[in-house]
C-alpha cells in the first residue's frame, strides 16, 4: 500500500511514518498541501492521509481542488477540531473517511487498508481482507493461503459482504442477490447459509455480525 501523509505536526507524522513502515507499507510524508499536490501530480499514490489544519492551503482546499479535477484518490481526513460539523463537511467535500485526533495508529492503518481494498476491488479480481482473499473471477476463497471450499450460495454471499464492508445489509438485500424470482426461499435459508459461511470462515479476519431487527454487517478486523 502506497500512502502519502500530509501532516504539519512533526512528532505525530514521524510516529505514523514509523508505524506504517514497520507494517511494510510505503509511506511518504509532506508538511504542506502544496507539496502534497506536486507529489500527487507525478506519483501513483493509493491513499492520501490529509490533515485539515495545514500552514498555507488547508486540507479542505486541497481536497476540493482534487475532487474538482476528478481525481478519485481515496482520502482520509484527520481533524482535531472540536466542532462535530467538521466531520460532516469533510465527507460532504468528498473525503472517503475521517478520524478525529487523537486516534489509534492501528485504527488509522485499518481504515487506510479498507480504503485501498475498496479501490482495488473496483479494478482487480482479487480482494484481500486481512488473512482472507477472494478472487471474484475464479471464486477461490483463501484463509491464511489455504483454499476454503464453499458452496455457490456461500460464495455469492461472501462476495456480497466483501463488496459492502461496514454497511448494514437487510435480510431482503441478501435474499434478492442470492435467489432469483423462480426460487422459493424461506427466511431461514439466508440464516442457514450465513451460519455455514461463518463456520467455514472461522479463523479469518472477516467478521459477520447479525443485528436482530436490522440486518447483517461484515467487518474486517485486522
Amino acid at each position: 500500500m502506497r500512502v502519502l501523509l500530509t501532516e504539519d505536526n512533526q512528532g505525530l507524522a514521524q510516529s505514523i511514518v514509523q508505524y506504517f513502515s514497520e507494517m511494510g507499507h510505503a509511506i511518504d510524508w509532506v508538511d504542506s498541501a502544496e507539496k502534497a499536490e506536486s507529489i500527487l501530480a507525478h506519483d501513483t499514490i493509493e491513499v492520501l492521509i490529509l490533515d485539515v489544519n495545514l500552514p498555507g492551503k488547508s486540507g479542505f482546499e486541497l481536497l476540493t481542488s482534487l475532487r474538482s479535477r476528478k481525481n478519485s484518490i481515496p482520502v482520509l481526513i484527520l481533524t482535531a477540531r472540536a466542532e462535530v460539523d467538521d466531520r460532516v463537511s469533510a465527507l460532504d467535500l468528498g473525503a472517503d473517511d475521517y478520524l478525529v485526533k487523537p486516534f489509534d495508529l492501528r485504527e488509522l492503518a485499518a481504515r487506510c487498508r479498507a480504503l485501498v481494498r475498496r479501490e482495488r476491488g473496483k479494478s482487480d479480481n482479487e480482494i484481500h481482507c486481512g488473512n482472507l482473499s477472494f478472487n471474484s473471477a475464479t471464486k477461490v476463497v483463501k484463509v491464511n493461503q489455504e483454499i476454503i471450499e464453499l458452496r455457490p450460495r456461500e460464495v455469492q454471499m461472501l462476495e456480497l459482504f466483501l463488496t459492502h464492508l461496514d454497511r448494514m445489509l437487510t435480510k431482503d438485500d441478501i435474499a434478492n442477490r442470492l435467489y432469483n424470482f423462480d426460487e422459493a426461499y424461506t427466511p431461514n435459508a439466508v440464516e442457514q447459509t450465513l451460519t455455514r459461511l461463518r463456520k467455514q470462515l472461522q479463523g479469518s479476519t472477516l467478521i459477520i455480525k447479525t443485528v436482530r431487527g436490522l440486518g447483517y454487517l461484515a467487518h474486517v478486523h485486522d
Partner: protein, 480 residues
C-alpha cells in the same frame, strides 16, 4: 421636502432617538393641528358674532329710516329721523351710504350708484336682506328693507338700501379672534409644559435603574434595591431574575471547569508519574507492561477529553435554529451501524426493535447521534462481561401517544435504583465498572434536555440498565 415631511422622516427613521424629544414633538404636532382646526372655528365664530351685532345696528337704523318715509300730498315724503344716524354712530369711524327707491323702483334719494341692484331684489321683501359689497374701494355691508305704502295716490313698496363700511365690525372680529387664540395658545403651551414634566418624571426610574446598575458589578450577588413604584417593580424583578440565572449558569460553568480540570489533571498526573517511573528506572529496558499501563491510562484520558468536548459542544449547540425534522429510524440505523462496526471484534450482540409508525422529531442530528453513541458506549462498558453470558444491547424505538421514546438496554449488572439519579450527574461513576469517564449519561441528558425531552433510567427486563430518551412530538416541540 416640506418641514412636516422632514419631521415625519425623522420620526420614522430607525436610528437612535430620544423618547422625550419624540413624545414632545408628536404632542406639539398634534396640538398644532388642533390649533389650526380650532382657529378656523374661532375665526368663523368671530365673524358671525361681529356681523350679528352690527347687522342689528343696520337693521334698527333702516327701520327708523323707513319710519320717516310717508305719503304727503300724494307724494312720497322722506324725512329721515336723526335717531337713525345716532344708532349708526355707534361705529364712529365708519361711513354710511343709503339710497331710497319709490314704488316703481324710481330713485328718490341718496346714492344712485350703490352696488346693490334693486332688480336683484324680490318684489315683495318682508324680511330684510343683507349683502357685502365693495363700494368706493371699501367693504360695505348693505341692508335692503322695504315698506309697503298703501295710499290711494301712492301704493307699492318703497325700498331703502342702507350701507355701512366694516371698520368697526372688522375690529370687533379681530378682537374676538385674538382673545380666543391667545387663550388657546396659553392652554396648549401649559399642556406641553405639563407633558414635558410628566415625561421627565416617568423616565426618572430608568435613570435610577441605570445608575444602580452602573455602580454594581455584573457578578454582584446583591439584588437591586426594591422600589415603591408599582410600574417599575416588575422591571427590577426581571433584572434580578435574569442576573440570578446568569449567575447560576456561570456557577455551573465554573463547577464544570473545576470538575473537568480535576479529572483531566488527575489522569495526566497518572500518566506523567508512570512515564517518570519508567524513565528513572535503573533498568535500561522499559518493561512492556509499564508501557501498556501508560497506554491504557492515556486512552482513558483521550476518551475523557473527547467526552468533555462533546459535552461542551452539546450544551452550546442548544440553539434551536439548527433544528430540523429528523426521522429517528434513520438516525438509529446510522448510529447502530457505526457501533456494530466499531465493536465488531467483541462478542456483543446488538438488537434493534423498530417502531410500528414513522417516528419524526425536531432536533439536531449531530447532537442526537453523539448522545445515542455515548449511551451505547456506556452500555458496552457496563454491559455483561462474564464469560458464560453474551452481552446484549437492545435499542428500541417507540411511538407513544404522549411522546417518542428511544430505549437502550443491556444485560449487565445494572445500577441499583437508589443510585440511578446520581448516575446522571457529571463525573459520577456508579456500578462495578468504574473505568468510564462518568460523562456518557450526562451528555445524553444534556442532549435530551436541549430537545425538550427527558432521560430516565430504570431496570431493564434484560437484567441490566435501561436508558430511556423521550422526545416530544413535532407539534409539541414547536409549541414549547
Amino acid at each position: 421636502m416640506s418641514t412636516i415631511e422632514k419631521i415625519l422622516a425623522l420620526i420614522s427613521s430607525s436610528e437612535e432617538y430620544s423618547l422625550r424629544q419624540r413624545m414632545l414633538t408628536r404632542t406639539a404636532l398634534f396640538m398644532c393641528t388642533v390649533l389650526a382646526i380650532l382657529s378656523v372655528g374661532v375665526w368663523h365664530y368671530a365673524n358671525t358674532s361681529a356681523d350679528y351685532s352690527y347687522d342689528r345696528l343696520l337693521s334698527s337704523a333702516s327701520v327708523t329710516m323707513l319710519d320717516g318715509i310717508n305719503v304727503a300730498k300724494n307724494q312720497v315724503h322722506i324725512d329721515l329721523p336723526y335717531s337713525a344716524f345716532e344708532i349708526l354712530q355707534l361705529a364712529p369711524d365708519d361711513k354710511v351710504y343709503y339710497a331710497i327707491y319709490g314704488p316703481n323702483a324710481d330713485f328718490l334719494s341718496g346714492y344712485f350708484d350703490l352696488p346693490v341692484k334693486l332688480t336683484d331684489q324680490q318684489a315683495d321683501l318682508i324680511e330684510p336682506h343683507y349683502a357685502l359689497h365693495t363700494y368706493k374701494g371699501k367693504k360695505v355691508r348693505f341692508i335692503v328693507r322695504q315698506k309697503r305704502l298703501s295710499e290711494r295716490s301712492v301704493a307699492g313698496n318703497v325700498t331703502i338700501i342702507l350701507g355701512q363700511t366694516t371698520l368697526a365690525r372688522d375690529a370687533q372680529m379681530r378682537d374676538t379672534l385674538y382673545a380666543a387664540l391667545t387663550t388657546l395658545m396659553v392652554v396648549m403651551g401649559t399642556a406641553l409644559l405639563v407633558m414635558w414634566i410628566a415625561i421627565n418624571r416617568a423616565l426618572s426610574p430608568l435613570n435610577w435603574l441605570s445608575s444602580q446598575l452602573k455602580t454594581q458589578s455584573p457578578m454582584d450577588k446583591q439584588n437591586l434595591p426594591t422600589t415603591q413604584m408599582l410600574e417599575v417593580a416588575p422591571l427590577t424583578q426581571a433584572i434580578n431574575d435574569y442576573r440570578q440565572q446568569w449567575l447560576s449558569a456561570l456557577a455551573a460553568m465554573r463547577d464544570f471547569i473545576a470538575d473537568a480540570s480535576h479529572q483531566i489533571r488527575t489522569a495526566q498526573a497518572t500518566t506523567k508519574a508512570q512515564l517518570e517511573i519508567a524513565l528513572t528506572s535503573d533498568n535500561e529496558q522499559i518493561d512492556k507492561n509499564t508501557i501498556n499501563e501508560i497506554y491504557k491510562d492515556h486512552t482513558k484520558l483521550t476518551r475523557l477529553t473527547n467526552q468533555l468536548l462533546a459535552h461542551a459542544t452539546i450544551v452550546h449547540r442548544g440553539d434551536r435554529q439548527t433544528f430540523s425534522v429528523l426521522t429517528m429510524q434513520k438516525i438509529l440505523q446510522d448510529v447502530i451501524t457505526q457501533a456494530v462496526r466499531d465493536y465488531a471484534h467483541t462478542d456483543i450482540e446488538f438488537e434493534y426493535v423498530p417502531p410500528h409508525n414513522d417516528v419524526q422529531i425536531l432536533g439536531d442530528e449531530l447532537v442526537l447521534k453523539e448522545a445515542l453513541r455515548n449511551v451505547i458506549d456506556n452500555a458496552v462498558q457496563h454491559g455483561s462481561h462474564t464469560s458464560n453470558t453474551t452481552a446484549i444491547i437492545r435499542i428500541s424505538l417507540h411511538y407513544r401517544q404522549e411522546n417518542h421514546q428511544v430505549w437502550v438496554e443491556d444485560n449487565g449488572p445494572g445500577i441499583p435504583e437508589s443510585m440511578m439519579s446520581q448516575a446522571l450527574e457529571r463525573f459520577v461513576k456508579v456500578g462495578r465498572n468504574t473505568q468510564g469517564s462518568g460523562l456518557g449519561l450526562a451528555i445524553a441528558q444534556s442532549a435530551a434536555l436541549t430537545h425538550r425531552g427527558q432521560l430516565l433510567l430504570s431496570k431493564s427486563e434484560l437484567g441490566g440498565l435501561a436508558v430511556c430518551f423521550s422526545f416530544p412530538h413535532i407539534m409539541d416541540a414547536n409549541d414549547a
